[in-house]
Symmetry: C2
Subunit: 474 residues, 2 copies
Amino acid sequence: MTPPDMNLGTKSPQGYDPATFRPLTFHDAVPRFLDGSDTPRAYLERCLEVIAAREPVVKGWVTINESGARAAADAATSRYKSGKPLSTIDGMPIGIKDLLQTKDMPTEQGTPLLKGAQTHADSASVMALRQAGAVILGKTVTTELGMSHPGPTTNPFNPEHSPGGSSSGSAAVVGAAMVPATLGTQVVGSVIRPAGFCANTAIKPSFGAIHRGERLGFSQSHIGVHAGCLQDMWSVAFEMAQRAGGDPGHPGLYGEIAPRAAAKPTTLIVMESEGWAQTDGVTMGAFERILGQLSDAGVTLLRRKDSPLIEKFEEAIGDSLALCRDLCGYELRWTLENLIERFGSGLSDSMMSRLELARAMSIDDYRLAMFRRDEAQRAFAALTPLADGLISLSSVGPAPVMDNKLKDSGVSHTTGLPSFNACTSVLGSPAITLPLLAVSGLPVGVQVIGQRHADAALTGTARWVLDHIRPVVA
Amino acid sequence: MTPPDMNLGTKSPQGYDPATFRPLTFHDAVPRFLDGSDTPRAYLERCLEVIAAREPVVKGWVTINESGARAAADAATSRYKSGKPLSTIDGMPIGIKDLLQTKDMPTEQGTPLLKGAQTHADSASVMALRQAGAVILGKTVTTELGMSHPGPTTNPFNPEHSPGGSSSGSAAVVGAAMVPATLGTQVVGSVIRPAGFCANTAIKPSFGAIHRGERLGFSQSHIGVHAGCLQDMWSVAFEMAQRAGGDPGHPGLYGEIAPRAAAKPTTLIVMESEGWAQTDGVTMGAFERILGQLSDAGVTLLRRKDSPLIEKFEEAIGDSLALCRDLCGYELRWTLENLIERFGSGLSDSMMSRLELARAMSIDDYRLAMFRRDEAQRAFAALTPLADGLISLSSVGPAPVMDNKLKDSGVSHTTGLPSFNACTSVLGSPAITLPLLAVSGLPVGVQVIGQRHADAALTGTARWVLDHIRPVVA
């Protein structure tokens, strides 16, 4: 098999091979912007070439604002020429998940009901990106309102397969090396899962770390960053948080603009969650080989049976999918009822099923769900002295085929089961997925998970893992 | 002086006299709806008559949806006829502060920039009111974006004076007996202060108690209820919270649909806050007569000097105006920057001054402000075992004249100083204002304040105060 040249995107994808996959990166282009041997405008044009070649199959974009992007890239080019870039991401082309508002493009949220809808405003994160000089290139496909009904996007490594969701386009266009970074959002499993399916390096930061702007209606949603490498991922997250702040009432992302140096973890806890029993044997075998490498490198691994505190934690997160269904459903009712009132119909069957479940909830049902979330967060915090972090798969296997009918907890998951993600969304903990596995020619992510507000330290852990653990092909 | 017939609104107001002022109430009309001797439609028509008579001077409404209201009132009339009202507020005409979205009317937010702006959606609280059968009559005037630049509304007891703000129209139209209840919002002093100026009975509930819908961008704003009486106030708040829930991630309003019976407090703490030193002598003298009555009735009053915990609390809230300026300014930047980007100009000078202050803040400045708010909340919680609640004035005196130039903490307060309110907004504590004082022919409120989530119990305290304390005229 000839290794595909993923970076130029000139051939059809022939499957994922971590040995040959070269994601698009930005930080390493900056010295050339400064010495004049490259420019943000030329960088953008290369992105547009890859998009032209691969978008007909990947279908990751809803809207692309070429003229606006070119103007922004030219402005960045001028700033580098005068030696005064605005930030570490000045001139970086970025795609925005189409749940988030952009002043210069519609915000359709993955539903035909909002086709062409203009909000005339930037979401807080998008405004912060522009303030940092980033080039807002376009809007990426989301599932319907960020839930499970899929859009047209295909997996960049095999178009028969899903890219994952709800940040389908954001994951796929990074996996296809069209742009170095995109914004996603995660309320259940919408950043880490698709990022894993598409070989992204991605962060779902601590709850509240990056201002959600108009999207504050969920009590556990997060803005995340999909990128081709760890450094770009961190730069985008940190530059945004410095400018937009965190969610109102939250301290925002802590750390420094320079990504943390590699830091070897002494101890990691292997998190099982609901995903463990749902994982296929090949994927589990590949993951155990990663764990074996960690052990060989001298990292102590704690398993569920090694501590009653870990067992208690696993019990506390053991129903996270149903908990997310209840919390998010109750919180989404208001938005859905407004859409139904305005348009009469047009929501997917799967969305209507969610709404029916939510309509049956009382305020006390919601209070109980919040209490259970709080219990899970306390059980997680109790692990702090035991380990530097947790490690798990990012999904129960590679991306499912496009026309699957996966269901769990009464709701459909055609973009894959979020069984390893619902728990970290419930916990509000930072999670970083790394493209460490290839299973049946498709990427599968491995995630490291930290305590709340330990995002920067977790980046150091992730760097050490990338530097010392060889990807596994199975 | 002939006492004005405030209830019919057929004469110009001649000043406020608590002995003769009869606010409009709703709960006492319900038995007549059920026995057929009155109907919600007839009740609405009486409201419209008062509005026709007084609105030319009061100027409390931005939009009135007469046809929609009549249709809703007719539907409620049918439900009562069949003995099946939807709730305790079925058929109640309610005004909505024009910061909150309504599907059938524009949401202009007190700025000419958003003239005629349609959102095609109901805010969560508005949707909940409709689900409970309430008649959404119209939108009430707010100051510019809920901050300090005033709208055209005048005080219903003297048109030379401000109605207060930012819930200017919501306070004024209840004070003018045009409707039995309205929704307001408070981020600094926007419910309790104007309610006090307009002789409303009003609640700013515990932080998070009533879902703010699209208005979640402030970390300490609240939806409140202005009403003509305590029972209607509570019914509106509770019926909303049961249906919309609280803010995402918050448990919502606790209690029962029946308002608590009068409950005599054993001990109340007299809260000074920043307002104490700013209060005029006449108002302070009148308030001390209220305190004297409480003392005579056997209620123990604790003053600042009676406990080091109270002294510590007063110190912790002693800079609340500046703290609100910083927290709210930082949180409002994003909204303001989007408006400036979209429209170029059109914000008031006072709003631009706020923005300049906020632009100079770093994310660490915001974190420090949150830390100070947390300190104040802890100092407040430490008072829990000492007293059943707190009592203070709702404002530093009666409503100022319309063209005043009050300033504090670097921002203007043309609708009156929120010096007794910034603290309770910072604390997230429930506060209920009662129309117990008349100073120079204008109403001044007295507020009782409870610990967070003690809203229902606080209603029992407020009932006892209303039943046992005579209003004071000074």
